[in-house]
Amino acid sequence: MRNPRTATVGTTAGVAAASVVACLALAGCSTPAAAAPGISDDTVTVGTHQPLTGPAAAGYASISAATKAYFEYVNANGGVHGRSIEYVVKDDGYNPANTQTVVRELVQEDQVFALLGGLGTPTHSSVLDYLDQNDVPDLFVASGSTMWDDPEGHPNTFGFNADYVVEGAALAQYTADEHAGSKVCVFGQDDDFGAEFLEGVELALGADGVTAHESYSTSNQDVTAQMGALQAAGCEDVLLATVNGFTALAVGTAAKMGWSPRWLASSSGGDYPTLVELLGEDVAPALLQGFVSANYLPFGPDGEWVELFEQINDEYNDGARFDGNTVYGMSVGYLFAEALAQAGEDPTRESLVEAVESGKLEGNGILPLMFGPDDHSAFDGVGITVVADGVQDYVGATYAVGGGKVTEVEPQPVELRGGGVPAP
């Protein structure tokens, strides 16, 4: 028995040693590289992580389809600096564990030039450090967390949404202006989304201005207890820091209980067409009459941007349902195309980030973009929209937050030029 076994061990060790030497000789596969990935003479590849399946898919799956349609429109019109934009969409099911995998796949396998519009606070925050370590431009994150605005800690990351503090403050201020002295309550997601929104509400109303506060977890689809508590507290205005699915759930659950307070929802959960789909065509118009939300994109039914986006949607997106997500997805695409145009003939990751930081980007929002070397947030204010007879539109009230104060401002919409294809 002895000899064969000793021989086996000896052979194994020999093979091992040989393999180690061979592998060290071949070293280089994982050594740090310096080339600029994702860009060739005629293409630019960008990637994103989106919830195409899972709990958030119902509200947001159409965003990436809209962005893709917009890029196809740009490519059909000559692209940017002669390069067409390739857009790689990966499904993460709104699960941070998947996000970590698919983003590594995008960066290392698909060699994307930049990440564009990664969706969700819990999902995207789990890859923030990874993207920073790999110097990947992380543009226009689809979430209103204040986490993205950290030029020192994450110099390549830029947000897109008006942050939740701004939205909470603006909606609360609007309530205070319209219904002075009413009982204001907050219903929010049990993460940074809900916490920052509440911070904004308290900024506008004072720490004791909130009568009651309830929260939910996305993994639990029952909000009866929370609605009951808010009703018992006598809330008249309920501010919602909810995703679309839970806005519908809150409104529907309250209606079943025979309770109808005034609802004011963050832009993340206040898209009327999406809510109608979730609540049902028959009851939604009645339930959502007077529904207040915030927005910062050209959403009004008869603007030139919406007209263009509707055309693109018909031509390149098979005429999919046109809603706030469509406008959102195409606006993100437009802003990226603008940044790419500004980044020069031969863009690098550095010049792309510099272009965003230059402050020259206009975007298509109703307020000027805030981007600059010291500010990586897109919007510091929002406009108020109200649903009237099945149409959601701006009512003119627009608020900006700065220096710990909420102020009413004038909207400054951007004019549509060059058929919506940015020129350098």
Binding site: M1, R2, R5, T6, V9, T12, A13, A16, S19, V20, C23, L24, L26, A27, G28, C29, S30, T31, P32, L52, T53, A61, D91, G93, N95, P96, A97, N98, Q100, T101, R104, E105, Q108, E109, T121, P122, S125, S126, D129, Y130, Q133, D190, D191, D192, S217, T218, S219, N220
Partner: protein, 390 residues
């Protein structure tokens, strides 16, 4: 390992009798052989990372972490017959233990790279061991009193309860989970390797530290006791073996390994949350152990690789075949589960002992003609998989 096992039991007896033997033993004890083998395999795996691109190295790290859990699980089910459907929760316990310890350490001043980083990681691993060991001990205590489907039910309930638990306990960070500091490549190595490869190294070393003790346990007296308890509790008790103690011990050992796996996943992905450790993942760990071959550590490694790589492989194939977008979206995530199910059925039909058993049989086949000509000697079944055949 598998092929030589019948000799080991004999060797243990020999070794025990040899204690007074004055002659220096040239021949290695089973433990020494396991250690040597572990060192060789670890070096091989570390060397292999040089052949992989960063994304493959990331996958390798995840495989190593999953291997920790499947190795513990295969030992638990294969040797003691305790079926745990909740090993994902034990991994999660390790992950949370790691995150809490690391975050506490970095707020206490250990927040740099270099030596501070290494100390932080070690503290984190200790945290993972404490958390998973404590949870595993509790579950094991309950498990020793429960039989068959009831233990499976209990562990299954743990998986289902995990998201609710993380939402209710504020320190666990809800659905978002906890974030931990990034562990970069040490200064000396930063020109040679990228961070994914470094993480793969850490994962391989931790996996070796988690799995080697399991191999030692299995080949020694503890392994014999586990088999005895699984074979016949009454007989084991009559021989002076305490079934309860053996079962709890096996559960704790298996939990500690799973906990280290969770800690590695947390380190590699810089976060821990309930999303990763859902019911599907927990059941996949069992599938990995069964497909690999219950009781076999090599099988557990193969199973872990399968669990990590198959979904990616399936996605790559559907992407390459050019499935229409809406169909692809519908298949996304579901097809892999389907393939796993089919694989499980095929493997159990073709090789009831799993991949490890199939590989062992193949190794034996060429030797057959050289054996005695009168009786075609069937290879002795490895004791590890015996309980399956009862």
């Amino acid at each position: 390992m598998t092929a030589t096992r019948p000799a080991e039991t004999e060797e243990i007896a020999v070794r025990d009798a040899r204690c007074s033997d004055p002659r220096p033993a040239r021949r290695l004890t089973p433990t020494q052989r396991i250690l040597l083998r572990a060192v060789v395999l670890t070096l091989l795996a570390v060397a292999a990372t040089f052949l992989l691109d960063p994304y493959r190295n990331y996958q390798l790290a995840v495989v190593a972490a999953t291997f920790c859990a499947t190795a513990g699980l295969t030992l638990l089910v294969g040797l003691t017959g305790q079926l745990s459907l909740g090993h994902a929760v034990l991994m999660a316990a390790g992950g949370y233990g790691y995150a809490l310890a690391v975050n506490a350490a970095s707020s206490a001043g250990l927040d740099g790279g270099g030596a501070a980083g290494a100390a932080r990681v070690v503290l984190g691993l200790v945290g993972a061991l404490v958390a998973s060991g404590a949870l595993g001990g509790l579950l094991g205590l309950a498990g020793a009193r429960l039989r068959g489907p009831y233990l499976a039910g209990l562990t299954l309930a743990m998986v289902v309860a995990l998201p609710a638990l993380t939402t209710q306990v504020p320190a666990l960070g809800g659905d978002q989970g906890l974030a931990v500091p990034f562990e970069g490549v040490p200064e000396v190595l930063s020109l040679l390797i990228v961070v994914e490869q470094w993480h793969a190294w850490v994962a391989i070393v931790v996996a070796a530290l988690a799995v080697t003790p399991l191999a030692v346990l299995r080949s020694g007296r503890a392994g014999l006791r586990m088999r005895a308890v699984h074979g016949d509790e009454t007989a084991a008790r009559l021989s002076g073996v305490s079934p309860a103690r053996v079962k709890v011990g096996a559960f704790v050992a298996s939990s500690l390994a799973a906990g280290l796996g969770g800690a590695v996943l947390c380190l590699v992905t810089q976060s821990v949350g309930p999303g990763r450790y859902d019911l599907a993942f927990s059941l996949l760990l069992v599938v990995a152990a069964v497909v690999g071959g219950l009781g076999s550590l090599g099988g557990a490694a193969a199973g872990a690789a399968l669990v990590v790589l198959l979904p990616w492989l399936v996605d790559t194939v559907t992407g390459a075949v050019g499935v229409p977008a809406d169909l692809e979206q519908r298949l996304s995530g579901n097809l892999a589960v389907l393939v796993f199910g089919a694989l499980l059925i095929v493997v159990t039909l073709a090789w009831p002992g799993g991949l490890a058993r199939a590989a062992a049989r193949r190794r034996h086949r060429p030797h057959r003609p050289r054996g005695r000509t009168d009786a075609p000697a069937a290879p002795p079944p490895p004791p590890a998989s015996q309980p399956l055949e009862r």
